[in-house]
């Protein structure tokens, strides 16, 4: 590990240090530093800041950026009103990691693409311009949607997938832009020409909270398909919230993990469903829309049919249709 400075932030202003890299739980950053994938000259420890509360108001739930994944999953309101989030959190990582990992840090964790982690290998995300060996290599766990010729990494978070379905907004304190509220689609950027840039955040920006709007109507679930039953990243995951009234789908929110460089949500998929009576054929249509631009890279081709099967099973579960 390269030598670095360490400072403990005692206020938001301390944390907005453009020369520093923010650390909270450190469950990902410390690994990255051990491998010298990231070599920040300075770490700014924000864990003493007052960002540990979950506050409920009439219109939203404000989750402090330092709330741990374990605490958030176990929170009564989350369990009652946002079960998709609770389930997603508990589907992620291990108990030990969830105890340490924070809400803000979880959003900003880096990909688990194995080529990103091996410094003997090219990687456009780690070393821009060096190439992407994953495309023709071992890519079983990598993305089929939202990729670019430069990068096919997936975003590893489960929590963020549920938050995307819940229309969460991320509260950011920026030294230049002041307080901002971004949706996850606004915060995450797709790899495009520069896969090293994963969010719109700039040096000094601090995630202070995540806001969930009022609980959605309908049923919620999170389904994660993985290679072993715990401590494995999603091959495919689906966060689903669907409301059915008088035999028709009135609201639908669907977000996907394991498929793309960010938690994936496609309004066109939901448009197919809303206003229609749930049926196996309708679910197939929704899957067609979701996957029309999906592109596999060999080993991960299976994710495309697996996403279809998983989406259809989630929709069947949420609408009560027997498959």
């Amino acid at each position: 590990m390269k030598s670095f400075d360490y400072v403990r932030a005692s206020g938001i202003a301390d944390a907005q240090d453009t020369a520093g890299r923010i650390i909270a739980g450190g469950t990902n950053l410390i690994d990255l530093m051990k491998h010298q994938i990231e070599t920040p000259p300075k770490l700014v420890d924000v864990t003493r800041l007052e960002m540990t509360e979950i506050e409920q108001s009439a219109h939203s739930l404000r989750i402090g950026a330092l709330v741990t994944n374990s605490d958030l999953a176990a929170h009564d309101t989350v369990r009652r009103d946002y079960p998709v989030l609770s389930r997603a959190l508990l589907a992620g990582a291990s108990g030990q990691l969830r105890n340490k990992a924070t809400t803000g840090g979880n959003l900003l964790q880096r990909t688990r693409c194995p080529y990103f982690y091996d410094t003997t290998q090219p990687c456009n995300k780690r070393a821009p311009g060096s190439g992407c060996p994953a495309k023709e290599g071992i890519n079983r766990i990598l993305a089929v949607l939202g990729t670019s010729p430069n990068c096919i990494a997936t975003h590893p978070s489960d929590m963020a997938v549920a938050m995307r379905a819940l229309d969460a907004r991320v509260e950011i304190e920026s030294p230049n832009r002041g307080t901002e509220m971004l949706t996850l689609d606004e915060m995450y950027v797709l790899p495009g020409d520069d896969p090293s840039k994963e969010t719109v955040l700039e040096a000094g920006d601090l995630i202070t909270a995540v806001h969930l709007p009022q609980p959605p109507k309908g049923k919620q679930t999170y389904r994660k398909v993985r290679d072993r039953s715990s401590y494995a990243f999603a091959l495919v995951s689906v966060a689903g919230i669907v409301d059915v009234e008088d035999g028709k789908i009135t609201e639908a929110a669907l977000a996907f993990g394991g498929l793309a460089p960010r938690p994936w949500r496609d309004g066109a998929v939901e448009d197919v469903l809303v206003g229609e009576a749930p049926s196996d054929a309708l679910f197939d249509k929704a899957a067609d829309v979701l996957l029309q631009d999906a592109q596999g890279f060999g080993e991960n081709d299976f994710k495309i049919p697996l996403a279809r099967r998983t989406l259809k099973a989630v929709l069947a579960e949420l609408t009560g249709v027997t498959q």
């Binding site: 590990m1 390269k2 030598s3 051990k34 010298q36 688990r112 194995p114 080529y115 091996d118 410094t119 003997t120 290998q121 060996p133 023709e136 290599g137 071992i138 079983r140 766990i141 398909v225 993985r226 290679d227 072993r228 039953s229 715990s230 401590y231 494995a232 091959l235 299976f302 049919p305 697996l306 099967r309 998983t310 259809k312 099973a313």
Partner: protein, 725 residues
């Protein structure tokens, strides 16, 4: 005095005559509390005065030559040196006793150790290793993948009879190709070495399984006399074959310590372990079965393709159990080992059976399906009377009992036709597989000392790699000497102690156990003399000797400790009998109809391995085998990049050993057995037997659940769901 026994003839059951009653019964490990409270130090936990820390540098290219640019790091904080001298290419193979390949400036795989960087602290050493400039000259003729092999070497295994003819004569045939991915031993403790020199004498704390051989390997690698090497490994955090041979950290630490004149510790990172330590080769296997209308085998064949680095004296013995498990006149084997630029292949738990039994037992399941014969009945019909290739008689072989008693205990009669049992989204099924593991007795020595105060001491350079050696050696001595096992101290893991078999090949318990038995037997003879009775009449119990109408406490028979060495050697019984452990594995699985995810609900293992020395540690060994079977069947796979050969998933986040949630209820039952030919304690190896066939029971259960045959391991969801409706 040395009590020597060459195992030339079957031995009486002395351990059934002794009366202490502390053998075979469940007994927790005496060192357990030390381990769970952190007081059992592992290699990396030792510190030495003035110790420096080394970190291995891995090759960043697949094939070529290299030169390190020491000047690039000399000014870095804490820098002490960069050493490339005597660097070994990979860990030694088990029982090699000589140096592994030392390549000079040549690189044959990405991740090969090319230097050790030493600094004052670990963090400094790791930083220096990360930025050290290495000049590479790359060759462009590396071959990294099976598909790139143009000429597979021929096999030299002889045929028996005519398998092609048998296949055409047969009523039922199976001819299937299987593939298995490479496996990592994934021992919890990474390899580590602390080297200290005193003049010409090297003392090295290591994480090693077979100290006697390892000492020779260290000495040969360094070019010094083995007499000048002392190895210490009293506690080892799992081995599974990965610590059979000396690992590169030992040489790195010793070379650096010598050059710097101070102790040096080198701990392999988990990534290093995946590259510098031997892994199990990938295999391709063609399995053929030819059976008559009654399911009786007319012939069988198993041909395999695998890889290694050049000059490695080890090939995965894929067909090891196939030679003796089932009958059939016509038999064909083939083994083709290609040279690939990947990390070295070597022993990983149950070499041969771990992957060979997947193919054999899957094929037997397919044959059962085709012939309409119950899988257990099919196996029973094919148990041969004599070894089908050598004609040698078998020693104790309770395969039939394991199959039938296991089936009863498991509820096999509730198994339904494939694809007919469903609970909600889950298909449910049951599978069975035979287990077989060749039994090996190795030369082994131990000192046993009985003290007048009724305590005893057992000393041998044997290791306890988490297997229960401390427990069983203490139990054997206690049973033989009539003592509470708590009165027996066991000292292990020091090459200054008598040379043992080491831990490997599941031979440790019977081999080291026999040496302790023999040492204690010699003490019994002395006590009988002093008591004035025939040794046959001697009874030792709770510190009191009885015999020939005499009854005296040990203290009255002894005024000084009695020390005897026990020395066991394999002998003629190895030729006169074919010895193996046998068993049967049963699994019940659920397969998700949507995603193809598999959950193992429960497993049962019925095991027959001669005398069970400690039911608790033996059960733990079999649990380990069952869990490993789940991993082999469902999750474990090293991925090599086909272009560079490097291990892509070189950590425990992406190399998926089963987690608790993957493991359903595990049940273990032992078939009561004595194997008279195996050893004077009538015990056989149990550890690897627990794995043999376990994975096949899982995949056979997958077929019974959902009708999908697994040919390519592991059976991750993508290998299952495309075949589901």
């Amino acid at each position: 005095m040395t009590e020597h026994l060459k195992m030339d003839q079957v031995q009486p059951h002395l351990l059934d005559e002794t009366g202490q009653g502390v053998l075979s019964v469940p007994m927790p490990r005496p060192e357990g509390p030390l381990k769970v409270t952190g007081r059992a130090p592992y290699a990396a936990e030792y510190k030495a005065e003035g110790m420096a820390t080394g970190v291995m540098v891995r090759a960043a290219i697949t094939k070529g030559t290299y030169a390190v640019d020491t000047a690039s790091v000399e000014d870095m904080p804490g820098y002490l040196g960069v050493f490339t001298d005597k660097m070994v290419r990979n860990a030694a193979q088990g029982t090699m006793g000589t140096n592994p390949a030392q390549m000079g400036d040549k690189i044959l795989y990405l991740g090969q150790p090319i230097a050790v960087v030493v600094a004052e602290t670990f963090e400094q050493a790791r930083d220096i290793a990360a930025v050290l400039k290495v000049d590479y000259t790359e060759d462009d003729d590396a071959v990294c993948d099976f598909d790139g092999v143009s000429d597979w070497p021929d096999s030299d295994k002889p045929d028996q009879g005519d398998l092609d003819q048998a296949m055409s004569d047969a009523t039922f045939t199976v001819d299937s190709m299987y593939t298995t991915k490479p496996h990592n031993s994934a021992a919890m403790e990474p390899h580590a070495a602390l080297a200290e020199w005193d003049g010409d004498k090297l003392t090295l704390h290591g994480s090693l399984q077979m100290l006697g051989y390892n000492r020779d390997e260290v000495a040969d690698s360094l070019g010094i006399d083995a007499k000048n090497v002392r190895l210490l490994a009293p506690y080892v955090g799992g081995g599974f074959g990965s610590k059979l041979g000396m690992s590169p950290d030992c040489v790195g630490a010793a070379v650096a310590a010598k050059a710097l004149g101070r102790p040096v510790r080198v701990v392999l990172s988990r990534n290093n372990v995946f590259e510098m330590i031997v892994l199990r080769t990938a295999t391709r296997q063609r399995l053929r079965l030819a059976a008559d209308k009654d399911g009786k085998l007319l012939g069988l064949g198993q041909e395999n393709w695998q890889s290694n680095l050049p000059d490695e004296p080890m090939a995965e013995p894929v067909d090891l159990a196939t030679h003796f498990l089932y009958g059939g006149e016509n038999r064909r084997y083939g083994q083709h080992v290609a040279i690939l630029n990947r990390p070295a292949s070597g022993s990983v738990r149950a070499p041969g059976e771990a992957v060979g039994m997947l193919a054999l037992e899957n094929a037997m399941d397919e044959l059962a399906e085709k012939s309409g014969i119950d899988p257990i009945e099919l196996r029973l019909r094919n148990i041969p009377e004599k070894h089908p290739e050598t004609g040698v008689q078998y020693s104790a072989r309770s395969l039939a009992e394991a199959l039938t008693e296991g089936a009863k205990a498991f509820g096999w009669d509730k198994r339904q036709k494939a694809g007919t049992r469903r609970e909600g989204e889950w298909y449910i099924g049951m599978g069975v597989a035979s287990a077989a593991r060749t039994n090996i007795l190795m030369e082994s020595r131990a000192n046993v000392t009985l003290n007048p105060d009724g305590t005893a001491l057992v000393q041998t350079d044997m290791t306890d790699i988490g297997t229960g050696t401390y427990a069983i050696l203490g139990q054997i001595a206690a049973e033989m000497l009539g003592l509470d096992p708590q009165k027996v101290t066991v000292e292990l893991g020091d090459t200054d102690l008598p040379k043992s078999s080491g831990s490997g090949g599941s031979w440790g318990a019977a081999s080291a156990g026999s040496s302790v038995f023999l040492g204690a037997k010699a003490i019994r003879r002395k006590l009988a003399e002093r008591l004035g009775c025939d040794v046959e009449a001697l009874r030792l119990q709770d510190g009191v000797a009885t015999g020939g109408n005499n009854r005296r406490p040990l203290a009255e028979l002894m005024d000084a400790p009695i020390t005897e060495e026990g020395h066991i050697e394999p002998g003629q019984t190895d030729e006169d009998f074919h010895q193996a452990g046998y068993g049967a594995h049963f699994a019940e699985v659920a397969v998700n109809a949507v995603t193809g995810e598999v959950r193992v609900r429960r497993m049962l293992a019925a095991m027959a391995a001669g005398r069970i020395l400690n039911h608790q540690t033996a059960t733990s060994q079999v649990w380990g085998g069952q869990i490993w079977g789940i991993g082999t069947a469902l999750t474990e796979a090293i991925e090599h990049d086909p272009r560079t050969g490097h291990v892509v998933n070189n950590d425990l986040a992406e190399y998926h050993v089963p987690v608790n949630l993957d493991v359903g209820d595990l049940e273990v039952m032992f078939i009561d057995e004595r194997d008279d030919a195996s050893s004077p304690i009538q015990a056989k190896g149990i550890g690897e037997l627990g794995l043999s066939g376990a994975g096949a029971a899982v995949t056979n259960a997958i077929y019974n659940a959902c009708g999908v045959r697994v040919y390519d391991y592991p059976a991750t969801p993508d290998r299952i769901f495309p075949h589901l409706p």
